[in-house]
Symmetry: C2
């Protein structure tokens, strides 16, 4: 999916919601078997219910890998069920030396035909280049994450006066255009989004941390929006586990619709 | 496997070789089918041939994931074939917020019963804690990697005078003991190992970059060895792809034995 196609989707729906399929098998609603097949059935129902209100789905690979071979199969089946209108993200946070990253890129761009993958920056340019080599796909690099541990390294101050995460944003942004590169920026740091937008005015930001993690959608939008909207705000648990009962799909649609309505107002 | 058991293995064999099963399906020898079953057959032959000369096997998850569901199955079968005497490492470089990292820990410590997993530090303490919660397992955190891209972030200088990678080593080492925590330190930076040993004198180092990547085993041992040896030196392509013909297993044994003999001399 090109940047223009994504922007068109967002403008047409007036929603920049990404639904995170962090499908924890232990949290499946009553009536859904706690099996890989149950995960797929649950995901399909969530996707069918929420598709009108979001523009993207993010599959968190950890929740599938922890079910072994069958979980990997459930990830494949889930991805195949997402409508082609929606931007698909493998939230995999991979990154390794070049020839290894090339295999991760093949995994999540070819074997599993996602539009995008999240990538960890610690190993530097040659660990990210194999993903960027797919110019028709998207690489989403961790910038500033929403967890407490972001203070340990990301928010350390460099000799040149930048925070480590600022150096990551600045350097990585010089390696690819906003047509194939995005950044993860946590919603719990909404006040930092203004600073971040000075470094990367044009790139899309994938923003987790709204909902269960406590970030404010209004603040994220105020500080993070650019001329092309430039935001994908992710909500996972708050949408997919909105109810633990038989009405789980209906309730997930209500939660997603509520986000979409807030987004429409914030864009208006 | 406890630290003492690992040290005993190393002392008894006079080898600290880790063989990296970076089994690229495209590089399988003539006569081995380029399928997941071929990968398993190849790995089993390599393991059987090299086991006397090494103390550890490292499975690079990327090379299995890029074969999809069948590749994940091949990883399971390969792991199951490694003798319990050998220290098993999932070279997965995972790391995410707490509840996600917990699923990765479950994946590589329970579903796939590895002894150890490699972890990326960028997201900080709460992204690593779920791995450390398995006190009977090993968490191997990226410190200084052997690729050119290590200069982009790892080797940036912090305001406090440390390099980023030194801060990673120092902080992470304060979160767990040398009984359950190791670090990845690249062999192409052997001269840095002296500095690194001042920060983390007691922790085991997993050292990639010898062999195909050009690091010197003698230098790594000189600068990196501690009283308990404290080194696992990995060779992947140089051992497993020592021959592309029918004699691939025999040639991998010769390559592994050659490393082991060098190690015996260096320890002597």
């Amino acid at each position: 999916m090109t940047k223009q196609q994504l922007v068109d989707q967002i403008q047409s729906k007036q929603s920049y919601l990404c639904v995170g399929l962090d499908t924890d098998i232990e949290k499946l609603p009553a009536g859904i078997p706690k099996t890989a097949a149950g995960v797929v059935a649950f995901n399909k129902a969530i996707i069918d219910a929420t598709a009108p209100y979001c523009v993207s789905y993010k599959i968190n690979t950890a929740f599938y890998e922890s079910q072994g071979v069958k979980g990997w199969g459930a990830m494949e089946e889930t991805l195949a069920h997402i409508p082609s209108t929606h931007f698909t993200i493998a939230d995999a946070k991979r990154g390794d030396i070049g020839n290894t990253s090339a295999h991760y890129a093949k995994t999540f761009f070819e074997v599993l035909p996602f539009d995008a993958i999240t990538v960890a920056p610690y190993m530097g340019k040659d660990s990210i280049d194999p993903f960027l080599a797919y110019t028709n796909k998207w690489t989403i690099v961790l910038g500033l994450t929403s967890n407490a541990g972001s203070q340990n390294f990301q928010q350390q101050k460099l000799m040149n006066g930048q925070f480590v995460f600022e150096s990551v944003l600045e350097q990585v942004a010089s390696w690819a255009t906003a047509e194939q590169l995005m950044f993860v920026v946590g919603a719990t740091k909404a006040e930092d989004l203004g600073v971040i937008r000075k470094i990367i005015p044009n790139h899309f930001l994938l923003v987790p941390g709204v909902g269960a993690q406590g970030g404010s959608l209004a603040d994220v939008t105020k500080f993070g929006k650019n001329d092309a909207v430039g935001l994908l705000v992710n909500a996972s648990r708050a949408v997919i586990f909105a109810s633990g009962e038989n009405d789980f799909a209906e309730k997930s649609a209500i939660a997603a619709k509520d986000y979409a309505l807030q987004m429409k107002q914030l864009l208006g």
